[in-house]
Each structure stands twice: as structure tokens, then as C-alpha cells.
Symmetry: C2
Subunit: 452 residues, 2 copies
């Protein structure tokens, strides 16, 4: 194995004329510093336990902005600023869902209205539930079978996909777009099986969207176990549901992304970021408190170790990733209008788990160069360096030709808790979190040295 | 990155004449089956919640033997048998530790006597505590400073080591051998900082050993936070401790390893194993309930999918790994006397975390061949295939020239909970556990096909 990695190491040493030994030593120092003195875990404790969840437009988000501003200053940023972002506001309010079989009694079941969805305005929507597995089964229903009913899509994540992000993309279609499909055919509400890998009944929220051509019917996530149970019961008897909810969109609000930076000795900016907002349940610990504190950790590393970055290292804590990505768009708009040259941007938004790779969205020559560094990263668990998606917040920078990367942590556990009450501080491991920050700092170190 | 892996794939295709495409398809089928139909997570629930912890000689271990025997039959083993093993018996009993500063009051602190240690026979041992960081500081103490005292070794795990197993080996010296060092110089008891990566104060037990030349003084693990606090206080004032414990060795008992197998179409045995015993705190979930249920899962996989193994696939659930490794020794003794030919043995005993590699203890030609399969494993997260230690239970097979391998899962979280109250079912993730079983089954599939 060592030989397999040694070959490209020597080869690329020739190709790129790098001093691998000194790079390796510097990367070791970065790891030593963060793994022993890193403060990201304590920072995350504050963000999750003292601030809590922080959906765009909420009081929690305002607290998060204040916390992040102070934290970036404390971490040693030369300059901290708030970037104005107009954000959409969605509120949940009181909500409940009950089901019963034909001759049974009403049972409350775990539920969460989907983000951006409209509720019942506090009124009871009661109807028969039609259960389908997927779009194929839905398409086979007649309009008469759907009209006036509530449709449950019980489409599970594909557990056989080893990278759970792929299964999320697949199952996400059922959360995002089914409300209008059901409304188009006269249905009164849609229930979707939560996008979850967990063997439990916890509901997971997340963004959905309406087709403006049809009525905005309620859209609700239920737990996987309840979804399976309703499917099983529906084969034998009629099922009814009673939904009361108060969620809906409110007026846009003025909000902010929070930015802190350490000036470099030369021109050019390197961005490291995550998103500061979260859904309105749990504590937004893995999604994306982890990315926030890792980004701050990278800044702190450069400050505390005196690494003398050539480029400005900038931590951008984006507003509104969850239900609008307005923070990412606003930042790209700012960059387009500014005279700043962006050398590189990396995002951490798939959890603070043990890192395995980087997804690269940049030209092939740059991809090859980053891949040539793979042997340097293997001791830190990063072996997979491939062309790929970088992250929702930095993606708008693509049109400005900024080379982009996304941290790829181990994906096995993320969708057990993503967008749910389970996404709390206790689900984050200190070493995993800091190791993610370490490999981002290491990659930034290399790029700061070798890219103009 | 793909190119880097593609090169050795093609190369080794030439070298070993394998049909990689059909192997890849078979490995995919193994993964599909285990990730969707695997029962290991439910099995682990039973083993941890219905059986619980199971130290050698305890009632829990007897229950575990019955559970494992029934479970292997249920998994479809052609033959299930109990292998007699005479095991050492250590019992904990009631225990407590209090500390106080010179003018303070007694405070109870979290503690666990170390496994195999002798206690105070229910009497109070009260003495001043001398705190040292490491052997160097201990060696600088005079005998007069040690005599009649309790010595605390506050040696932390090296958090900067990315593979935590290395830090465990380093810190383990302080747990295993310090009691007799202290006794030799007239000390009354030894306290050791728990070998832990966790940012908490949970004590971790584990095996220690006495040098028969010196009195068997008590040896106790305390939490990392308390250890640091005592170190801090000791710089300013005297500290006293009051220990009462009842632990100690009892007579050896008759016990069993549990073995189940599926006969192959040809001669030869392949072993997959973990250890059935655990420490007497927590639930022995990651250590090594995970290895137990993964081994059973591999057997079930071959049975349910009808893979038609050439060699006998044998799950060995070893007795007494934690405080004697008598199960592993007994199995090797059995193999030495039997006419069975052992083709390969693999062990899972470092947790049911997301797999990253295999450690190989076999001749260089075989190592090269297994390394040639690396590209087939990368989609399942296994990229690190190196010469290395395989596992404590199968290690005695080395002298019989059996090729050995150890599953290497991600190591970031294991020592947060290892040998402590925190090692419970809830700390195990379903997908990670099943993915570990998957890659072991895949490796066994390849070896079953290509090795004689």
C-alpha cells in the first residue's frame, strides 16, 4: 500500500517541483496544533447549547450572528464584518398529525411540516390517506383516487448505496416536489417518509417547493417506522389522517452572513466556509454547526501558528443555506462587484465526521495538482480526491471561475440525524470535528503556497 | 484519483489473472445484501440489552454463550459447538475513591479498579497522593517520597496521533505495569489517568499485571478531568485519597468459546471472529459486541445468498480476550492438534466503525495479492491495506502460519468509550456496523475463491 502511494508522490514531485518534505512537516504541525489545542468542539458547544437552532429570520439566527461576530474576533481575525442578506422567513408554529384505521381510534404520530410549506391555518384537514411507494405507483392512481385525499409517499433511502449523499439525492425528489403533484390532481395534503438512514421513527424536515400553478397544500414529513406501518395497514383497510398546522412563509427580512479574515502578505482571497443557519429543530450541530466552527478553527490556526499566509484567509459563515441559499448568492454578488481576486474556496457542509476526501469543482489541471497531494493527506484519512460538488453556499462562485472544493467526511451517520431533533451537540465527536478542520487547513496551506 | 487506483487494478489483473469484473459484481451483491437485509444491528441490541456486559466467569458471560449458540443456529450454521476454555476470574465488588486537599473535605470521584488488580479487601487505604506526569517524573522521585503514598500517573493519550490505536499503545504502559513499579518503592496504591480520548471524566478500566516480586497493591483508573484537577491542585497543596475496594482474582472457571460454521465444498477453513467477553461495565457494544455480530453476519451472508463457499466459513466467538486471551490460545491449541487446514483468519476487535482498511499478518506474496484487490474495496471505504497486527484472539494462529488479517475501522471514537460505562448499544451506528461486516465478507469471498 505504501508503495502504491509512494509512486505518485515521487512522480508528482517531479511534475510540480514541490518540496514534499517541508510540506509534510508543515501539515504535521497543523495537525498537531488543531488536534491538541483546537477549540472548535467548545465553540460548537456554545453555538448549539447557548444559541441553539437558528432558522433564517428567527431570534436564534440573530443570536448566532452576534455569537459568530464575537467568536471570529476572539479567534484573532484582523477584520470581522456582517454582509447584508435579505432572507426568506418560514415559521412552523403549532402542528399535529393524527391517524386512524377505519374502526380504530386517533393516534398522534411524530411529524414535522416541511420547510417552506404552507399549513392548514390552524384548521383541521381530515381525509383518507392513500399510500404509494414511489412516482410509478402514484402515476397509476386515477384522479378520482387522489381527489380529496392525503397522499403518503413511502419512498425509503437506498441503504445499499455506500455514499449516503447519493441516496439523499435520490429520495430528495419525494420531499421537494410532491406537494404540487398531489395538488394538481386534487389531493389535500402530502405526507412524505422522512429522508433518513436511521432505524427509528424520528421525522426529518427540509426544504420543499411549490409549483405556482397549483394550490399550496400542506406537506409533512413523518417517521420511517410510521410510514411503513401505515403502508402495511393500508393493504388491509382504510386509513385516515387529521392534520392541523400553522406553518407558512412570512415577509423577507434583513439578515447577515458573518465574515472574518486574516490578511495575507500578497493579493488574493481564500475562502473557508459553512452555513450559520440551521433548521428549527435540534441544534444544527452536524448541519452545519460543524462547518461553522471548523471554518473558525482554520482562521485561528493561521493566526495562532503564525503561518504567514500569502493570501487573505477568510472564514465566511453563510446565511440562509437551508431554505434559500441567499447568503451564498449574496457573497458571489459581492465578489463579482468587488476588485478582490478569489484564489480558492472550500466548504464544509456534510457534517463534522472523520474526513475521507475532497470533491473538486475546478479545471482539470488544478484537479491534477490537488490529486498529486493525495499521498500527503493519506496519514490524515483523506484518500479520495475527485472531481465533484463543493457545496451549496460556495457554488455560486463557480460562475466567477473560482476553484471550489468540498470537504467529504464519512457519510454513514449524517442522514440519521440531518434536519431532525437528533442533530445535537452530543452527536458530534471532538476528534472527528477537529480532524475535518485539520485537513481543510492543510489543503488551504498548500494552495496558499502553490497557487497565485 | 481514479487513475491512481486504476493503474494497479489493471496491473494486478495481469499479474494474478483475475476476473475483476465478476469479483466486483459479487462484492456489490454482498454489500447490497448486508446493507439492506443485515441483522447484525438487531443482534447487537439483543447482546447488549438482553445479555449486557459479560466478563469471563460472570453470569453475563454464561448468558452470552447461550445467546451466541442459539444465534449461530438461527443464522444458519451447519454446525455449532462450544470449545472448552479454562478462564481466569476477576471480580470487582463494591469500590469507592475519595480525595481531599489538605484543608478540604472528602469528595467522591469517578473510579474503576483496573482488571486483574487486587483491592483493599474492604479496608480503607488512606494516604497522601503524589502526582506525576510520566515515568521520567516518577523516576526522579526518591523512595522516601513514594513510601506509604498513593501515586497518580497522569499520562494523557496523545491526541495528535491520528490513529488512536498508536496513542493507546503508548498510554497503555501506564495502566498495565505501574502498580508493581510503585509497590517496589513502597507505595500503597497506584491511580492512573484513564486511557481515553474523550473530553469527559469517565473512568476506563482494562487489564493490568503484577510483577510477582512485589506486593499486589491496588490499581485504579480515574477520569481524565479529575486527573488534571488533582495535578493542578498538587502544585499548591497536599492531596489525600481514601480507597476502599473488594476486587481480586478468584479460582479459574470452565468456560467456552462459541463456534459456528458453514461447510464448504472443498477442504480448508476460513475463520472470522471477535470476542464474546467484555469488561464488567457498560455493555461491551463496540468492544467487542460489534465483532461478534459482524462475524455472525458474515456466516449468515454466505448461508442466505448461497454463495457456495469452497472452504468452511467458521465464525469463532472467542472467550476471555479482555483479561487472559485464553480463548484465542485454546483455539490455536485445537488447530495445532486437529487435521484441519486453516486458509485464513480475520478478526474484528477495534469497533464497528466505518471501515478504512485491513492490517495483514502474512507472507509478502499474499500481502501483495490482497493489496492488488484494493481498487475493488475503495467504493466500500477500504483503501489502507498494509502489513500489520491482526487481532489478539487470532494472533496465536500466527505460529501455525495461518495468514491473518484485522479489520481496521475508523479509529477516532473508539477510545472515547473503550472499557467504560459509555460503551453501550447507542454508541453503535447501524450502517457503520454493517459496512464492517460487508468488507470482511467481501475479503473472505475473494480469499475463498483465489486461495487454496
Amino acid at each position: 500500500m505504501k508503495k502504491l502511494f509512494f509512486l505518485p508522490l515521487v512522480l508528482s514531485g517531479f511534475l510540480f517541483g514541490q518540496d514534499y518534505k517541508s510540506d509534510s512537516v508543515a501539515m504535521r504541525k497543523i495537525a498537531d496544533h488543531i488536534m491538541t489545542k483546537g477549540e472548535g468542539y467548545n465553540d460548537l458547544y456554545q453555538l448549539t447549547k447557548q444559541v441553539g437552532h437558528r432558522l433564517s429570520g428567527s431570534e436564534g439566527y440573530s443570536k448566532a450572528v452576534k455569537w459568530a461576530e464575537a467568536k471570529l474576533k476572539e479567534a484573532g481575525a484582523d477584520r470581522v464584518w456582517l454582509q447584508p442578506v435579505k432572507v426568506p422567513v418560514w415559521v412552523r408554529g403549532e402542528e399535529s398529525l393524527q391517524t386512524k384505521t377505519g374502526n380504530g381510534t386517533w393516534q398522534s404520530i411524530p411529524m414535522l411540516s416541511l420547510g417552506n410549506s404552507e399549513g392548514t391555518n390552524g384548521k383541521v384537514v381530515e381525509a383518507e390517506v392513500i399510500v404509494v411507494r414511489d412516482f410509478d405507483e402514484f402515476d397509476k392512481l386515477t384522479d378520482a383516487q387522489i381527489k380529496g385525499k392525503i397522499v403518503l409517499f413511502n419512498y425509503p433511502m437506498k441503504q445499499e448505496l455506500i455514499e449516503t449523499g447519493e441516496a439523499y439525492g435520490d429520495a430528495g425528489r419525494y420531499r421537494y416536489g410532491t406537494a404540487s403533484l398531489v395538488a394538481k390532481r386534487g389531493g389535500r395534503a402530502v405526507l412524505v417518509r422522512s429522508i433518513s438512514t436511521a432505524p427509528d421513527d424520528v421525522p426529518h424536515t427540509g426544504a420543499m417547493s411549490y409549483d405556482a400553478a397549483y394550490p399550496k397544500i400542506p406537506a409533512v414529513a413523518i417517521g420511517p417506522k410510521t410510514a411503513d406501518e401505515l403502508q402495511r395497514l393500508s393493504a388491509k383497510q382504510k386509513i385516515y389522517a387529521k392534520l392541523v398546522s400553522n406553518c407558512g412563509m412570512r415577509d423577507d427580512q434583513d439578515s447577515f452572513s458573518v465574515i472574518g479574515e486574516i490578511a495575507g502578505t500578497e493579493n488574493g482571497v481564500i475562502v473557508v466556509g459553512g452555513h450559520l443557519d440551521s433548521w428549527d429543530v435540534g441544534e444544527g450541530a452536524q448541519d452545519d454547526g460543524a462547518g461553522v466552527v471548523q471554518s473558525i478553527e482554520v482562521l485561528r490556526l493561521f493566526k495562532q501558528t503564525g503561518l504567514k499566509n500569502k493570501h487573505t484567509i477568510r472564514a465566511v459563515l453563510f446565511a440562509n443555506e437551508e431554505n434559500g441559499t441567499r447568503g451564498g448568492k449574496a457573497y458571489a454578488d459581492y465578489v463579482a462587484k468587488s476588485s478582490e481576486r478569489h484564489v480558492f474556496a472550500i466548504e464544509s457542509d456534510t457534517g463534522g465526521y472523520s474526513p475521507r476526501g475532497f470533491g473538486l469543482n475546478m479545471d482539470d489541471a488544478k484537479i491534477k495538482q490537488v490529486q498529486s497531494w493525495q499521498p500527503l493527506f493519506v496519514p490524515y484519512g483523506v484518500y479520495r480526491i475527485e472531481k465533484g460538488y463543493a457545496g451549496a453556499d460556495i457554488n455560486p462562485l463557480q460562475k466567477l471561475n473560482v476553484p471550489l472544493a468540498g470537504l467529504q467526511p464519512d457519510s454513514q451517520r449524517y442522514f440519521d440525524l440531518h434536519h431532525s431533533h437528533s442533530d445535537v451537540f452530543e452527536a458530534v465527536n471532538r476528534r472527528e470535528l477537529l480532524l475535518g478542520a485539520t485537513v481543510m487547513a492543510q489543503l488551504i496551506y498548500l494552495i496558499d503556497n502553490y497557487w497565485k
